[in-house]
């Protein structure tokens, strides 16, 4: 299956929950876990990953908990994906002449496309009810009016 990990999806829900709470008000794990339907320990581990990635910060001790490290508009879906699912690396090969795959430059183009979309999509987009569009895109041949100089494969 070509799918997003459940860790990533949980991460989104965690950050969404934090984004909806009073800014500056830390939320403890014991508070979040039941709301998210996750065990305390598992949630804790996901939060640690998000913290090391710099997306949330934590306050220890009594009345402690977790907060967003930045405003929702500054946290991109790409950052969340890379934190919890690892780097987006459709074609692992770095060599231009890789025998393993056909035309690796194609994967790199698609990769840029995909992670570009995720980089423009922020937590703010997800929590607000504001409308937005994600423009479709397509393969463009040199004779198209959309062709851009120097961008071809």
């Amino acid at each position: 299956m070509f799918k997003l990990s459940s860790g990533f999806k949980s991460g989104l829900r965690i950050l969404t929950l934090l984004a909806k709470t009073e800014p500056g008000q830390p939320v403890p794990i014991s508070d979040m876990a039941p709301k998210l339907g996750l065990s305390d320990k598992y949630l804790e581990q996901l939060l640690m990953i998000l913290r090391r990635a710099g997306l949330v910060r934590s306050i220890r001790g009594s009345n402690g908990g977790f907060l967003l490290a930045h405003s929702p508009a500054k946290i991109t879906v790409r950052q969340i994906l890379e934190a919890l699912q690892g780097p987006i690396d459709l074609c692992e090969c770095s060599r231009e002449d890789c025998q393993e795959c056909v035309r690796p430059e194609v994967w790199r183009a698609i990769e840029t496309c995909f992670s570009g979309t995720l980089a423009t999509l922020t937590l703010q987009h997800l929590i607000s009810r504001d409308a937005f569009q994600i423009l479709p895109h397509s393969i463009v041949l040199p004779d198209s009016p959309l062709w851009q100089e120097g961008g071809g494969i």
Copy 2:
């Protein structure tokens, strides 16, 4: 890690090989395996998957082998990916009211974006040396000049 499976990459190379042979001329496994650097048995398994997906057809018995089921321009990279790596399902839920994910319509849009690119990219693009571009895309807000009526989320 968010990456393409090696099965998919092998599948691309298999189909590329078939696309370059005389049309109507079946190629046996014993012929392909050494060229692709795969074991006969593993290659066989991949070809079975491609056959069940309707991308290649087979001829049994002596002088048998495999052929493309359609012309290279009719076989999309998306079909190959879905055959060998399973359905592209960034957000598993199909329900509109899914509690698991945040704004499922967003994933569906991204998914359409991603698999849309792969659907326009054909085997013909990969085997030819013709240049092409894959246009980047982005989030568009209603106040943007790029906003298209009725396409918003």
